[in-house]
């Protein structure tokens, strides 16, 4: 046993051999109240289960197959993936992508392949204790999960993956371009459910792509993350995937609503800018997307004549380090600025090489993250952001 496991084993607070036999529950004659109580509960429950099954449903215990997530019966193999998508991090919480970046102190670079595009990303979960962080991005419609863990444990990735591959005979080392990675082919759990995995290191993150796909498919997803990690557009796309003035929330589930409805969905009144360049009377369309709770909701307003759109995301917790991490990742595209006494992010115009031509200012305000985007540079967009701040007071 490895040293750390051996030490933990030594700290085992309850050893089976130390359990007092007289206190053990069991079938058969009992000698202690504790044993009688436990056995009585077990037997009573078993009998009750039998009777209920027979009387109410006319079935035997053998026919009670299938289970529900979150019940004591436990998940099945398929539900393991469902559970991973629904709540993949114990102790973690659902966050926005920007907050997720703060948890791992790095941008969350999403893949962009024929299988998964940034806009396909579903709920994002994060956990952090300050020093270490974990983010899980789920793709419920694709049965795919990507986890980003900081720091990468084990030092050199190649030697680490070599070490792991010795423990998993079916696994093998591959290269994602020049990046060493570990491919773990699908193998069944005891429910005969198959999920494959690709692990690799990027930006001191351990990134794992896993899902119900063959190795080649998972590898293409992992390769996309590697490719986009060095591509400035990927960071921007992660922040604003495929957004345009005509369609500021590119997710297919986004819908056009009234400003009041968008405010209600967001749980905060949407404050529009009012400057000499753009004001409430210039408002075009209003959009909202989310699952019903403010923390999972994004709203957007457009000003078509000015070529500007503003996105308001709910459930945002301001993090100085989150914006600094994004800027540090790509100095060509981002720059931290001070706005209202806090760190904000300026997105430089023309930073996106995929066809977008937006500049932007991203800042936090009253539990929202607000992104002002348009075909302009920081000088034009900053007063718009400041106006929103001023008018929100």
């Amino acid at each position: 046993m490895n040293d750390e496991l051996a030490r933990l084993a030594e700290a085992n607070p309850v050893r089976i051999e130390d359990l007092d036999d007289s206190a053990l529950p069991g079938f058969g004659p009992r000698s202690s109240p504790g044993r009688r109580l436990v056995t009585a509960v077990v037997l009573a429950s078993v009998v009750a289960a039998l009777l209920l099954g027979v009387v109410l449903f006319g079935i035997s215990p053998h026919s009670q197959r299938g289970s529900t997530i979150g019940t004591a019966d436990g998940p099945t193999g398929i539900q393991t993936m469902a559970q991973a998508i629904k709540a993949p991090i114990g102790g973690g919480k659902r966050v926005t992508l920007a907050n997720a970046a703060a948890a791992i102190d790095a941008p969350v670079v999403l893949p962009n392949t024929s299988l998964v595009r940034p806009a396909d990303a579903g709920p994002v979960w994060a956990w952090s204790n300050g020093a270490d962080g974990l983010v899980v991005v789920t793709y419920p419609g694709k049965v795919l999960v990507i986890r980003y863990q900081r720091p990468f444990v084990g030092g050199d990735p190649l030697s680490t993956f070599t070490s792991v591959s010795k423990e998993i005979p079916s696994s093998h080392l591959i290269r994602l371009g020049g990046v060493p990675a570990l491919a773990i082919p699908p193998n069944p759990d005891y429910h005969q459910i198959h999920f494959g995995r690709i692990l690799f290191e990027s930006n001191n993150l351990e990134i794992e792509v896993w899902g119900n796909y063959d190795e080649a498919t998972l590898q293409s997803v992992a390769q996309s993350i590697v490719d986009r990690s060095g591509d400035s557009s990927s960071v921007l796309d992660s922040a604003m995937p495929l957004a345009t003035v005509a369609r500021p929330l590119p997710q297919p589930t986004a819908k056009e609503v009234s400003l009041d409805d968008a405010s209600a969905a967001l749980g905060e009144a949407i404050v529009l800018p009012d400057t000499s360049f753009v004001g409430p009377s210039d408002l075009g369309s209003v959009w909202v997307d989310g699952t019903g709770t403010p923390a999972d909701t994004a709203a957007a307003v457009t000003f078509p004549s000015q070529g500007i759109f503003i996105v308001y995301r709910g459930g945002y917790t301001y993090s100085d380090s989150g914006y600094r991490a994004i800027a540090a990742q790509d100095l060509r595209s981002f720059q931290t600025i001070s706005l209202n006494g806090r760190t904000a992010l300026a997105v430089k115009q023309n930073s996106d090489q995929t066809g977008h031509n937006f500049g932007g200012v991203i800042f936090a305000l009253k539990g929202l993250e607000i992104r002002v985007f348009g075909h302009y540079g920081e000088a034009k967009l900053l007063p718009i952001a400041q106006s929103i701040i001023d008018r929100s007071r």
Binding site: E4, L5, E10, G34, V38, V46, G91, G92, G154, P186
Partner: protein, 167 residues
């Protein structure tokens, strides 16, 4: 089937009780876990894996029972005082053992649990896979990852002792 189930109970009730005692503050709570675990096991006995994997299967059920107990505890203030939010083992008196438990608590709950299952319940990777309801490969990688994190945490907490932490 009743005889099979009785054999299961006789063979493993001690193990499940130990598992529960390691994760509960109160013996009464641990006994509740045992009772509820075997009740669920009875209901799902038809789904039980092969004999050699039935103990980790029981641990998987016990983990769910514990989670449900904690959810109930959050709803009931009185129980909340008796149950901990996260599974935590009693602190040993000796300092060095306390260190490893403190390091353990710095990890994520899932990492803590797989390490406990490996170190305290003594499960193999194949058994971990059943207990955690994942593939053996997934269990292996999770354990590897958690082990590394525990080792790093131990180093962080005892930089001056020179205690050997190796793969």
């Amino acid at each position: 089937m009743e005889e099979d189930f009785q054999r299961l109970f006789t063979a493993y009730n001690r193990h499940v009780l130990a598992y529960a005692l390691r994760r509960c503050n109160e013996r009464a709570d641990a006994e509740d876990v045992v009772a509820n675990t075997f009740t669920v096991a009875w209901r799902r006995f038809a789904d039980a894996p092969a004999d050699e994997l039935r103990l980790p299967w029981l641990y998987a059920i016990a983990a769910r029972v514990l989670a449900n107990q904690r959810r109930s505890a959050r709803r009931l203030l009185a129980l909340r005082l008796r149950l901990r939010e996260q599974p935590e083992a009693p602190q040993p008196e000796r300092g060095e053992l306390a260190e490893v438990l403190i390091a353990l608590r710095e990890l994520r709950p899932e990492e803590q649990e797989i390490l406990r299952l490996a170190a305290w319940e003594g499960l193999t990777n194949a058994e971990l896979a059943v207990a955690l309801d994942c593939s053996e490969n997934a269990a292996t990688i999770r354990l590897h990852r958690a082990r590394k994190r525990l080792a790093e945490q131990l180093v962080k907490e005892e930089p001056a002792t020179g205690h050997s932490v190796t793969e």
